[in-house]
Amino acid sequence: MQSHLLHMLVYATLVSAFFALLVRRTRREQLRLGLTLWLAMVGGALLLAYVMYPFPR
């Protein structure tokens, strides 16, 4: 698997599912926290990438 984006999505999914299961008990709370964490990780990374785009490498 060479896609950086796919790695990020898979990684965010594993980590957010793990923490949602670890710190929440009900299915509804787990889904809510898992989705929040996933969006924070993926959205944060994409936002950071967008902000950094104008800077030279």
């Binding site: 698997m1 060479q2 898979v10 990684y11 980590v15 299961l21 670890l22």
Partner: protein, 163 residues
């Protein structure tokens, strides 16, 4: 001046000896096979899900040329912590090392190494050169660290602190 009072003791907070044993057994099983600690404590669904997550991360790490950390004398603290993270998944780390390095290796040979030591160093550097190695390494560390967190969780559950 008021005399110092002894802190209040709550007998309900003190786990019984049986609970302590239960906690230790759960921690041991959880380290041997990620997810098994929860299964032992009767949390089958949680154990299976945690196991699936950790094994997926570990498998992805190995499939993406993740570096199984070797202790480097030039960076002992950093590489030592990396080994701790790797060892979080339990004996699976040792099996992976035997498969990747051909032996149970935990130390990076020095520059003048020859023979099997030199070969181990080359395998390590070869995996590091791979374009996906940084992802593989992150998966491996994450798998180990997640399982270490799970050990704290099963310890608490086993001692009745996390109903």
């Amino acid at each position: 001046m008021a005399a110092k009072q002894a802190p209040p003791t709550h007998s309900a907070d003190r786990p019984e000896a049986g609970q302590t044993w239960r906690g230790w057994i759960a921690v041991g099983l959880g380290w041997l096979l990620p997810g098994l600690g929860h299964v032992y404590l009767g949390r089958l669904r949680q154990g299976l899900l945690f196991g699936a997550i950790i094994w997926s991360a570990f498998g992805l790490g190995l499939a993406n040329d993740g570096r199984l950390a070797l202790r480097d004398e030039r960076q002992p603290l950093l590489t030592g912590l990396q080994i701790v993270a790797n060892l979080g998944v339990g004996p699976a780390d040792m099996i992976a090392r035997r498969s990747v390095y051909g032996e149970l290796a935990y130390r990076l040979p020095d520059e003048q190494a020859r023979g099997a030591d030199e070969q181990r160093a080359e395998i390590f550097r070869g995996r590091a050169r791979s374009g996906v190695s940084i992802y593989g390494t992150a998966y491996l560390w994450t798998a180990g660290l997640m399982n270490l967190l799970l050990l704290f969780d099963v310890w608490d559950i086993g001692r009745g602190r996390n109903p």
